[in-house]
């Protein structure tokens, strides 16, 4: 059976009062998500909801909602991408065209939206796109599949692994200002760090 966490009773948020105000504010705001989007349409958001939860192997609504909001904000606030290959469209365009292509593919093969497909079909299409081999060519000719896949993976991971619930699960003790870490040798833990719990 696949494991869920080594630290079932750990909750990084229970230490939030020890973080500086600025960090507290940023992290806490990830727990409350509103559902209005400035960039994504409803269909796009629903495709992404299914897509992103498959990317991280997690269906929990509130966490995936934060991922969607992060993607929406990133695509709408006009910030740069750091880098882009010359033959790839800017992120908002790449993702809009990409989601359209995903939808068109699902419609042409199954007359359904991506989020209406069976699990294994979703998985299969995602794998094809990650390898750049999704068909039909008429739909995918102008969308670089692997660039699309990697961009979405990157956005999804940066949001998902910034969610405090996920921090708790992986045993990340989180922000450490102003108190810092002191006990650093093998087998030493500061008081607020997660402790391995027996998994039998």
């Amino acid at each position: 059976m696949s494991k869920t966490t080594h630290y079932p009773s750990y909750d990084v948020m229970s230490h939030a009062e020890h973080w500086d105000d600025h960090t507290q504010h940023i992290v806490t705001s990830r727990l409350i998500r509103e559902k209005s989007y400035s960039f994504l349409t409803t269909v796009e958001a629903e495709i992404l909801r299914a897509w992103c939860s498959k990317l991280v192997g997690d269906m929990r609504g509130e966490i995936i909602q934060y991922v969607l909001c992060h993607i929406d904000q990133t695509l709408s606030d006009g910030r740069g991408e750091g880098q882009r290959k010359p033959d790839v469209a800017p992120a908002p365009e790449l993702i809009r065209k990409g989601l359209k292509a995903i939808d068109a593919t699902c419609q042409s093969l199954h007359a359904k939206h991506f989020f209406e497909l069976e699990d294994y079909m979703q998985q299969g299409l995602m794998k094809d796109i990650s390898e750049g081999s999704a068909e039909p060519a008429s739909i995918w000719a102008s969308v670089p599949q692997q660039d699309l896949f990697k961009k979405l993976l990157n956005y999804t991971l940066e949001a998902y692994y910034s969610h405090p619930t996920v921090w708790s699960e992986i045993g990340y003790a989180g922000p450490a200002y102003p108190r810092g870490y002191i006990r650093a040798r093998a087998g030493q833990w500061d008081a607020w760090e997660a402790r391995l719990e027996n998994e039998s």
Binding site: L157, E158, I170, G174, R185
Partner: protein, 531 residues
């Protein structure tokens, strides 16, 4: 905008307040010159703008899009360029190494790249000065290179769990190792506290234990009278009828301004400095300023920086402590029979969740996602990591050029074209094997090798010959004597260690030169020049 020197011609205008720009601003204003510093990004307040959070602190990097090309397109943004007062030093990891004598003599020693027009001894007094100024902490004895310590401040203690793992692996293999020399305090200094091992150095240090020019050099420059203007993107270097630099134009909140100056210094880092020179092309200098050699933008380098992750039976906890605390330079210089020339440094290197997950999702074995990625990430605390800083040889085809696409200000975007060479690849392969051996000797099992790069250098290299270089060893452009370039772009080779100590030592040396030559430099302005 409230201005001190709005309509005046100042002695010096400095573009970019990063590692080099900060040092220049302090040195030149303290010597009595009128100085204006312009930086494209904000004036950060560490206690209020920084947070212990990887995602939100990505904005310390230069996020503006660059086009990346070549066989090995680079990751830009937070991965290498800073933005805002302090530049890259606000989010650098603080590893503070000197180059070795061999780094300045690649052509002589190994028949590759070029020699620098200066040697280690020319920089030694400036390394001393900079290290003293920021109280670098490090070992009593540093076994490699020309400088063997002791460092001004004692080495850090305790280290991080991952650093102890690294030490254990090195011990087992007979590899020498030290606690890394760091621009991070091990005891109080001036009004700053020692490090609390919070582990966020490359997301901005909140307690100010880590040096940055934002908190050290810029405040001193301002006290000496320098005018420091954040959120001012310089768009052009202006030249006068004699062909000399006469100042810069910049944009602040959508409005364009001019700053006249007798001396212009570009410290905007490896991509933006060449971009600015190329963007400043005019009738007299049609291929860009300071570019009579055609070398502006050419031969830029990065460091190869592959990471190796190994899984251990016990927890390591990569998030704890200053990321780099243990280091070896046993493989720094050309090894006989290794099949390649030059070398690399290895660091124990911590990682918080985002860096870890983004890394393993894109490892050499292919994309990792879905349930498999989630299961792996649940074992985050059981991974240890080693990182390399490998020398990459310069190649003229690795270059910064202007793209057709424009940015929001209407300026052509930078295009960054990069491919590794054969020597670079062999060097990486060697280092990856060594990193794996160290981790396995410490009891781990290698699971991921993640290709990466770090640190940019070159693109406006220094040299004695004006036909093959952009500046002389003081950063003075060969073509326009009152136009200086002083940042990581003037490097000739990349060396095999983290570069910022060298960037700052070069800046201190340039400042010294400008100070000594001031009378002559400032009197130049009326004489025409011939290119």
């Amino acid at each position: 905008m409230n201005r001190k020197y709005a309509n005046e011609e100042v002695d010096v205008v400095i573009v970019g307040a990063g590692a080099a720009g900060g040092v220049l601003a302090k040195e030149l204003s303290e010597s009595g010159m009128s100085v204006v510093v312009l930086d494209a990004g904000p004036m950060w307040d560490p206690q209020h703008d920084f947070a212990s959070d990887e995602l939100s602190m990505q904005r310390l990097g230069w996020e503006e899009t660059r086009l990346v090309d070549g066989r090995d397109p680079l990751t830009m943004g937070h991965n290498n360029s800073g933005r805002g007062i302090g530049g890259g030093t606000t989010h650098f990891t603080g590893v503070f190494l000197r180059f070795h004598d061999a780094d300045f003599r690649a052509r002589t020693l190994d028949g590759v790249a070029d020699d620098w027009p200066i040697g280690y001894d020319d920089l030694a007094p400036y390394y001393d000065k900079i290290e003293k100024e920021i109280a670098v902490s490090g070992p009593k004895h540093f076994p490699w290179g020309n400088f063997h310590g002791p460092y001004l401040y004692p080495e850090r203690d305790p280290l991080s769990p991952n650093a102890y793992v690294f030490q254990k692996g090195c011990e087992a293999l007979g590899i020498r190792h030290v606690v890394a020399p760091l621009a991070i305090l091990s005891a109080p200094f001036e009004d700053r506290p020692p490090c609390i091992n919070r582990g966020f150095c490359n997301q901005g240090c909140m307690p100010n234990a880590k040096f940055s020019t934002l908190i050290v050099h810029i405040p001193k420059a301002m006290r000496a009278g320098a005018e420091v203007l954040p959120n001012c993107m310089v768009t052009q270097v202006m030249t006068d009828k004699h062909g000399r630099a006469s100042g810069v134009t910049f944009v602040h909140e959508g409005k364009e301004y001019v700053q006249k100056a007798r001396l212009v210094i570009l410290s905007a880092y490896v991509v933006e400095t060449p971009r600015l020179l190329l963007n400043s092309a005019n009738g007299r200098y049609p291929s860009g300023l300071a570019n009579s050699s055609g070398w502006v933008g050419r031969g830029f380098m990065t460091h190869s920086s592959h990471d190796v992750y190994a899984k251990f039976a016990e927890e390591v906890r990569l998030y704890k402590g200053t990321p780099v605390l243990a280091t070896t330079q046993d493989f720094y210089e050309t090894m006989p029979d290794a099949g390649f020339v030059r070398g690399y440094t290895l660091h124990a290197h911590g990682a918080r969740p985002l860096a870890f997950v983004k890394g393993i999702a894109n490892s050499q074995t292919g994309l990792l996602w879905g349930e498999k990625l989630r299961q792996t990430a649940l074992d985050y605390n059981f991974y240890g990591r080693v990182t390399m800083v490998g020398e990459v040889l310069p190649h003229p085809d690795n270059r910064i050029t202007l793209a057709d696409e424009k940015d929001d200000l209407g300026l052509p975007r930078a295009k960054v074209t990069f491919s590794f060479g054969e020597n670079d690849r062999r060097l990486i392969d060697h280092a990856v094997v060594k990193m794996g051996q160290i981790l396995e000797a410490a009891g781990g099992k290698v699971e991921f090798v993640v290709p990466d790069t770090a640190h940019l250098m070159g693109g406006c290299r220094m040299g004695a010959n004006p036909d093959e270089s952009v500046v002389n060893s003081y950063g003075q452009t060969h073509d326009i004597p009152n136009l200086f370039i002083c940042d990581a772009s003037i490097f000739v080779t990349s060396g095999a260690g983290n570069p910022t100590n060298t960037v700052m030592a070069l800046a201190a040396r340039t400042a010294d030169y400008i100070r000594k030559q001031a009378a002559q430099l400032f009197s130049l302005s009326e004489k025409p020049i011939h290119v």
